[in-house]
């Protein structure tokens, strides 16, 4: 049985394939021309796409706006950096970052999930600010300067190993990890448990009547989102060789929210497209003025007001129609379960 959600997820997967194809083309062009700048920029966009993905999981599915998702991104980055300074092992760094963000997000989730709506937004904002200030003032973590001199590591896959300093190789690894996280999230949302998450956004009051725990579902999505943000953050020091408290600041969380809105709330792949779009916009506008925030802010406001489903939300229905007419079944179910709309979360 195909319902609306499966259909729209399939459309998202198609867009994901297009994205991967485009990314592989970029990697091939980059490898052929010996370019490093655009590949590095692309890698950074992908890393921040992971953060945006985690924001979309919260906002687009369970309907909770997190204004402090950079907290987990930053924890992942710092733990990864600290691990790499001691032991230059990719897998150990990822495991340590994952473990630390898991613990941190369980802790944060216990606090943040006591409230909802606007209060949830403000509490996540507050949590991230507290931790960012603490990091900013802790000399052991490099205080306001952050930590530099993180070694360039070799990432081993059994017999083969790729250096993180190799632009093409590292780009492909990051692409694989981020698309893997996308695939994992999409898969989880397609399970019965994922439908409970979607139900939370549609009507939270009815979920307990159907026998599901609201708290457990919210908690699970929060921890999963924290983990995704943390694993993406863990890749950052491998790319740049440093970490700084800015990674936890509101600007980072805000950028992730902007990416999700630009790309399309509740589409998952939209977060990834949005993040790339934001990096593109920044570098294009940044080439003729340093005040790119004016333009980005205006585009963002227009998007929130007039295009609440974002770029992918605009394109995807057209793909869905194609998928429907291409299907052998005569008609799709005529009912339309709660469509995923931007900003339809209950306060």
């Amino acid at each position: 049985m195909r319902d609306r959600l499966t259909l729209s997820m399939r459309a998202s997967h198609l867009l994901a394939l297009v994205f991967v194809a485009a990314a592989l083309a970029l990697a091939a062009i980059g490898a052929a021309s010996g370019d490093t700048f655009y590949l590095r920029l692309g890698t950074e966009a992908l890393i921040f796409a992971g953060l945006a993905l985690s924001v979309d999981l919260l906002l687009g599915y369970s309907g909770a706006l997190s204004l402090g998702q950079a907290l987990y991104f930053g924890i992942g980055a710092y733990v990864s950096a600290l691990t790499l300074l001691k032991v230059p092992s990719f897998w150990l760094a990822m495991a340590a970052a994952g473990g630390a963000t898991l613990v941190a997000s369980i802790f944060g989730g216990l606090i943040a999930n006591r409230v909802r709506g606007v209060y949830f937004a403000l509490i996540t904002f507050g949590l991230a600010q507290v931790v960012a200030k603490v990091v900013y003032n802790t000399r052991e973590l490099g205080a306001s300067d952050g930590m530099i001199g993180i070694p360039v590591i070799d990432i081993g896959f059994g017999p083969v190993s790729v250096s993180a300093g190799n632009p093409v190789g590292f780009f492909l690894i990051v692409l694989a990890i981020i698309m893997g996280l996308y695939g994992l999230t999409a898969y989880l949302l397609d399970t019965p448990f994922g439908r409970v998450l979607t139900a939370l956004k549609a009507n939270e009051k009815r979920v307990p009547f159907l026998g599901y725990s609201v708290w457990r579902a919210r908690m699970f999505s929060y921890v999963l989102a924290g983990l995704i943000a943390g694993l993406s953050g863990a890749l950052y020091p491998m790319l740049r060789g440093f970490v700084s408290p800015e990674l936890m600041f509101f600007a980072t969380s805000g950028n992730a929210v902007i990416s999700v809105i630009l790309g399309g709330v509740g589409t998952l792949i939209g977060a990834i497209y949005g993040s790339v779009l934001l990096v593109l916009l920044k570098s294009i506008i940044g080439s003729w003025t340093e005040h790119h925030l004016i333009v980005i802010g205006l585009i963002f406001m227009v998007c929130v007001m007039f295009l609440p489903k974002g770029l992918v939300g605009f394109i995807r229905p057209r793909i869905e129609e194609r998928l429907l007419t291409g299907a052998k079944e005569p008609a799709a179910p005529s009912f339309a379960p709660a469509r995923l709309e931007a900003g339809s979360a209950k306060p």
Partner: protein
């Protein structure tokens, strides 16, 4: 140092300075809490309106306009700005399914734009207008700058004035009625759309006034709003979103906590204490100290 000296030379100045900061925070938080209480809108760009007020005072002051006149002129100039923001940004999304998140996002976008516009117009550097009231007064052995005393008095007057208008006048009753039940208020003849726009503009004007008053103490720079808004949000949450008295009590309380804590621990650690208080309040008493405006 004996206990009495400690009280006079360490504790008391800290309390007075904390009080001046407290009044400043209350002034900024007041507009924020009114906008939330009446319109149910989280105004993320409130800090930027505060910055606009400060820059307007700076620019008009440089053009030779008297500080005392600016105290009236700048808030008046902020009113059409607030009206326009409400009309163009808040009104179109006011009836969307999730007003909280949508209006928060729109005003967040506005904050980005305004902050960068201020950078374009006035440059990224910190500027500081001259203190309009120089000198200091000795009060019971404590030396307090005159301007801070003035700020405390004016702040108290503004808060009392606002509370009087909201709770004791016919206009205030109309505003509270519109916040409580907009359809019922409309059927009783309250011009609800105008009241909403006016309330938003009033909150914005208060932010602008705070900007004029605080510019001589905290200096003026494009991101000044961002730094202050955190504390203001904390105050609004702890005091109870939408409560005027809550904002006053929480503002004074939190700044005293900050001022006194900095005697014992390094000042850089007081921010986590203040934000920790906010988080604790959100967890254990999300409605804050006092209930919400217009909601009994």
């Amino acid at each position: 140092m004996n206990a009495l000296d400690y009280l006079q030379f360490v504790l008391a100045p800290q309390v007075v300075n904390g009080l001046a900061l407290g009044v400043a925070v209350v002034l900024v938080a007041l507009g924020l809490t009114i906008i939330f209480g009446m319109l149910d809108v989280i105004n993320m760009s409130h800090g930027e309106f505060y910055a606009i007020g400060a820059y307007a005072a700076l620019a008009l002051g440089a053009a030779g306009i008297n500080f005392w006149f600016l105290l009236v002129l700048v808030p008046v100039l902020m009113v059409p700005l607030g009206m326009a923001a409400e009309r163009l940004l808040i009104r179109p999304v006011f009836d969307s399914r999730d007003r909280h998140v949508t209006t928060l996002l729109v005003t967040f976008g506005l904050a980005l734009v305004v902050e960068d516009l201020l950078k374009v117009a006035f440059g990224p550097n910190t500027q500081r207008p001259l203190t309009p009231i120089p000198g200091a007064t000795e009060l019971a052995g404590i030396i307090v700058p005159n301007y801070r005393l003035f700020l405390i008095v004016v702040g108290a007057a503004i808060v009392s004035g606002v509370a009087y208008v909201v709770y004791r006048t016919r206009l205030g009753a109309m505003v509270r009625a519109a916040a409580f039940d907009r359809n019922m208020a409309a059927s009783l003849g309250v011009p609800v759309a105008l009241v909403y726009a006016g309330t938003f503009a009033f909150g914005v004007a208060l932010a602008g006034l705070a900007g004029v008053l605080l510019a001589p103490i905290y200096s003026v720079f494009p991101t000044m709003g961002r730094d202050f808004i955190l504390l203001a949000f904390t105050v609004v949450i702890v005091g109870g979103m939408g409560s005027i008295w809550g904002a006053v009590v929480a503002g004074l309380l939190l700044t005293q906590v900050q001022a006194l804590a900095s005697l014992v621990i390094s000042p850089v650690w007081t921010d986590p204490i203040v934000f920790g208080t906010m988080v604790a309040f959100l967890v254990f008493r999300p409605q804050g100290l006092f209930g919400r405006l217009g909601h009994a």
